[in-house]
Each structure stands twice: as C-alpha cells, then as structure tokens.
Assembly symmetry: C2
Homo-oligomer: 372 residues x 2
C-alpha cells in the first residue's frame, strides 16, 4: 500500500480502526469534521450488553455482538494502559427487569430465546436481584442477569482511544471536512480536504451519520438514515446509585447506566425524525417515568442535563462493515445503537481486512453488497 490508510470520522469506530492499525505497524490518519468523539459516541450511554439487545430473527447479529463483548476486556485494558486514561469499565453484569405482569410475559419469551441462542444468562428471584441491586423497586416481576456483560463511560472511552491512537503513531486531524473522494479506474485515488487534495489509496468511511462527501457510492445515502435519540443524566451525590447497567422492557423502556462519580445515564428514545435535534418534554416524561418505575430514587435525583444524538442506521439495522466495489474504499457504517459495543471488534476486523486482506466471518451479512 503506497499511502497510510485514511479514516474519515473520529468516533469510537474510526478511532478503534485507527488504533488497531497502529498495532499492525501503520501510521494512519483519522480526519474528523468536528472534534474526536463528540457526536454519536458522546451521546451514547456505554452499554456492552448483547443479551438485552437480541431481536428475534437476528441470530447472526447476536453472534457478532457476543464476539464484540468478548473482545472488550482486553481492548479496554490495552487502551487504558497506553493512554493512561481510565474509562470506568465495569464487567460485573447487567440486569434486564420486568416491572409488571405484562413485562413478565415478554421477559419470559426473551429469556427462552436467549437460552435457545446459548447466551450466558440466568433468571433471578426478586431476593437475588435486590441483593445485587438493593435500590431497585420492590415488587418487580422478573429479572434476567447477564453476569459477564459490561458498561463503560463512553465519553472517557473516546478520550482514551484518541490518546492511544496518537501514542501509537496515528495522526488525528480535527475540524477538517473531507469534501470529496476521487476515484480513477475503479479505485480510490485522492480525497479533497477543505481546499487541498491529498493522495489516497485506502480510505475507510467511519462517518456515522455524517456522509455528505462527494464521490461516494450513491447506495450509501439510500441505505443510511439518522435515528434521533434523547437521553438524560441524573445525579445522587458522588457515589453510584447502581452497580450494573439495568434495562427495562416496560412500555416506557429505559436503560440506566451508572457512572463512578454518582451520575446515572438514562436513555434513550428511538425517533424517526431525521436530523431534528431538539430535546422534547415528552421524551423526558417517558424516560424519567420509566426510570422511576424501576428505581424509585430517581424521583429525588438531581437533573443534570439532557442531550440529543443521532445514530446511523441502515435499512436492515445491521452495519455495513467491509470493502466496497471501489478498490481501496471501505465502510464501517450503520452501527445504529451498538457503536460503543462494536468498537473493539469492528476496529479489529477492519484493521485486519486492510492490513492483511483477511475476510471476517461476519462479512457475508455486513457487506454493502447485500443492498445492491
């Protein structure tokens, strides 16, 4: 390869690909039109919880998510060591909670499917669950424990990743927009950054929802869309309220992810509203209500902030990770709700694809070709 790889987008996906490439001897360039990790990666909550992300009929994705979970501890350990930045990574399990009898029926169905897929989960009694999480509401109707699942402070992760990437020899360029991709004879030749043109033989699109670059295959704009998510942060003093990531399957579904400093992230809406970026009263109502049902203390907690993010989803809600029809052009797009969870694995398989031409076992269902 005549030039170093160029990665467009400095979210956790772009940075992880970049960092993995540094570990394979490359000095890649990561370019972001804004600041590293400040968009979708920043808006996330930091759940690494494949068991509660299963969807009926998506077994292939669940396998992919499980591999992502298994890749996490070693990845975080390396990133923390190289960067010197702690990420509040906790691998002590997650809980999926049924609040009422309707939820219980649904949770039973999910649990049966989780067991069918061979997931490492167990059904807890209320006594067992309250021993793990004493602040949960009394009288809930079911608890599924996934004892090896994780959560992380995603904002700290982005900082640590950016640092580790640079320590590894990568070059991070922020606040520069890639305007165009130039292709010649079916292969990548140059990119235009601002007014400058730069030779390029290997370009990875890790642009998330921001893909307005001239010269990209038209199919990308047809399959990707932003899904608005609103979340909020509460606080109760400076010690964590929960020990685990907790998710409900209530009709007001929420997840609650504790932070080491006493904050609690509560998320998130899934709204088909395009680029709309306004926080709404109704979303706050639903999120706080859902959180209150499972964690009564939430009622008294300080309201710290609310924010809006946009997830990049494909038409089938699976990522597009792999090469494209243009030689030298790769995509790592469409992570939807799973960007934080997938970042170690997608970083690794993309780096190996670029460096060694290794086709991952997931490529068949993650390839852009499926939409052509």
């Amino acid at each position: 390869m005549s030039q170093e790889p160029i990665i467009i987008g400095a979210g956790v996906i772009g940075l992880s690909i970049g960092w993995h490439l540094t570990q394979l001897g490359f000095k890649p360039l990561v370019i972001d039109q804004g600041l590293a990790g400040q968009e979708t990666s920043w808006a996330a909550a930091g759940m690494v919880t494949p068991a509660s992300e299963i969807r009926f009929g998506e077994k292939h994705l669940t396998d992919f998510f499980l591999d992502a979970l298994h890749a996490y501890p070693a990845f975080v350990s390396a990133i923390e060591k190289i960067s010197g930045i702690k990420t509040d990574f906790q691998q002590n399990g997650s809980l999926l909670v049924a609040i009422d009898v309707d939820d219980e029926a649904e949770l039973t169905r999910i649990y049966d499917y989780q067991k069918e897929l061979g997931l490492d989960v167990s059904w807890l009694s209320e006594e067992q669950a309250l021993l793990k999480e004493p602040l949960l509401s009394k009288g809930c109707h079911g608890f599924v424990n996934a004892p090896h699942e994780c959560h992380i402070d995603n904002r700290k992760l982005t900082l640590a990743l950016a640092k580790a990437f640079e320590v590894g020899g990568g070059k991070l360029v922020e606040s520069k927009k890639v305007e165009a991709l130039h292709v010649e004879n079916g292969r990548v030749k140059e990119i235009t950054v601002g007014n400058e043109t730069m030779a390029a033989t290997c370009v990875v699109l890790a642009t998330g929802t921001r893909s307005n670059i001239k010269g990209l295959p038209e199919i990308l704009s047809q399959i990707l869309r932003p899904i608005k998510g609103q979340a909020l942060c509460l606080r109760h003093g400076d010690t964590p309220t929960l020990k685990h990531a907790v998710r409900t399957i209530h009709r007001y579904p929420v997840y609650l992810v504790p932070r080491a400093d006493g904050r609690l992230i509560i998320g998130a809406s899934n709204e088909e509203k395009g680029w709309d970026a306004l926080p709404t009263a109704g979303n706050m109502l639903d999120l706080i209500y859902g959180a209150w049902k499972v964690l009564p203390l939430a009622y008294e907690m300080e309201f710290v902030e609310t924010w809006v993010g946009h997830r990049a989803a494909t038409r089938d809600h699976s990522p597009v990770v792999g090469p494209t029809e243009i030689e030298g052009l790769y995509t790592a797009l469409g992570m939807y709700r799973h960007g934080i969870m997938l970042s170690p694995l997608v970083g690794k398989i993309m780096a190996e694809r670029i460096a060694k031409g290794v086709e991952s076992k997931y490529e068949s269902f993650l390839n852009l070709k499926r939409f052509l």
Copy 2:
C-alpha cells in the same frame, strides 16, 4: 425625613416601592446583594390570577389580591411608558381547568366559593373553553374563566421596573450586601454596607428570602422560611401556544403561562426543602405530566430550561407589610407565591405609608405585630 428612604432588596417588591416613592418626590436608594430582579422575581411565571389563588378561610387575602389585580393595568402602563420596555402584559383572562371527574368535584367547590366571594368568574362549557384555547385537551371536565385576570413576563417586568425607578431619580446599587442595621433609642440610625456605614432614617426590608442582616428583629428569622419551587420552560416555534394563563387543579397541578415569543412557562413545585437548590427528575416528571394532561402538544414541545427559586413565606402564608416596632424600619416580606401579583399594590401602599404615614386598610392582617 432627613435622609432618602433606603430599600434593601431589588426584586419586584423593592423596586416597586422605590418607583412609587419616586412618584411621590423621593430619590430612594435600592440596594441588592446580587443583581436586580435575578432571584425570586426571576424564577416566577408572571401570573396575576387571584381567582385561582383563593384558599378557603382566607377571604381577607383574596380581597387584597383582587385589589392587586385592579392596580395592575395602570401600573404596567406607567412602567412601560417610563422605561420604554414592553412586558408582554396580557389582560385577557385566565382559565382554571378540571381534567378529570375528581377535579370536577373540586372545581365545583372552588367555583361556588369564588361566587360566594363575589369574584368575576364564569363556568364555561367545553365548547366555550376550546373556542378560547383550541389546544387544550379534549374531554376535560370543567373550566372556570376569570375574564379580567392577567399574565406578564416577570423577567421583563423586573427590567422595566429597574429602569423606571432609575428614570424617576432613584438610585440602584447592585452587588453590595447590607451587613447590619443599627438602631438607637428604638429608631433606625445607620446601616453597614460592606465595610461602610451609612446614615439611615427610613429602611424598608424587601429582602425576600435573603434576610441575614445583623440587627434585625429576631422575630423575622422565626417566621420566614424559603419554599423551593421548580419550574421549566418549553417552546413550540415562535408563536404562543396558549392565549391565557391556564391552571389545573389536578393531583399533578400545574400552571401554564404563555410568552409572546413562543415559550411556555410551566410551574411550579412547592417544596419544604429549605435552601436546597437542585432541580429534580421527579419534579420534571410531575410538571411535564400535568402539562401534558391539559395541553397534549406539550409532549412534542422543545425542552428549553429548568430552574429553581425560593419563595419567602411567613408562618401563616400572608405577607408582613408595614412598620415594625423599630421606628423607621418597615417590612415588605413574605410574598410567598404572590410577589409578582402583589408588586403594584405593595409598592403603592408602602410608598404612601412612608411618605404620608397613611395606614393601609390591609395593615391589620399584614402587620408583623400578629406574630408578637
């Protein structure tokens, strides 16, 4: 009087007293430890709605509130003219809404009492109410219209009042704390401001919840307490969502006060939490829920901000307005939820008390003596 009157506290009450004094030929000094109008006056919503503020057994207060309402239009007109600042004053009535059948029973009881007191109110059919406010929830169970009640942008009012006061020859000193009051032979002699001492023969305490001044009668600290209130602001584009101030008597009671620029103020909690100033998730839940019940559009509205204020309440929830046992020392304290509404009338009666020795007809029940 050998010196000009000194008013401590530049909220709407202190500024109104000051402005009324300028209209009687004085050049008073108003001192505030912070910025004019930035505490409780800022945190309010701007309702001037005595009919929905009635409490059984408080007929004397209702009369006082009604006189305050009647004083409003001329007061605002004068203040706006002198200051050149518009206050979004609207005198087009307010609505009190029963959302469900329980509310209806309670609203009926309130309405009967309002009529017994001779208030200018009428019961509207749903059709009549929706003609006035088409965005209200369909299927509400009762509406009381108080056609001559008002609302105002209280933040603009504080700005206009401060300006009118200065135009009238008053002197406003901000960010200076009055440390002590010095009394000699039963009459006010001096005040200490920072490190300086200043001669004083007439001092008005309009300090709201901030009364930590040495030398004050001890009774004041015994009868006054802060009552925490949380409110929030939503927005729906740049045109008002409602025309009137709307209040519910639901078990999640709220008021909704529109602003000319499309904002909507929703308030407010009444919490006995001392000086606690943290916004809480539970309060947002209750306020948004209450607002949503009466105005379904609230669900989709942008969440703009939330804030916390502290109202100064006395033990019997009536103000203490008038002279004290110390000659030259007056109080205009304990306005509780009614500071914006009472500002024209309290300003007027206090100015006349100071300038002419006129005892107001309310003095018997507003006097500090009742607590001695």
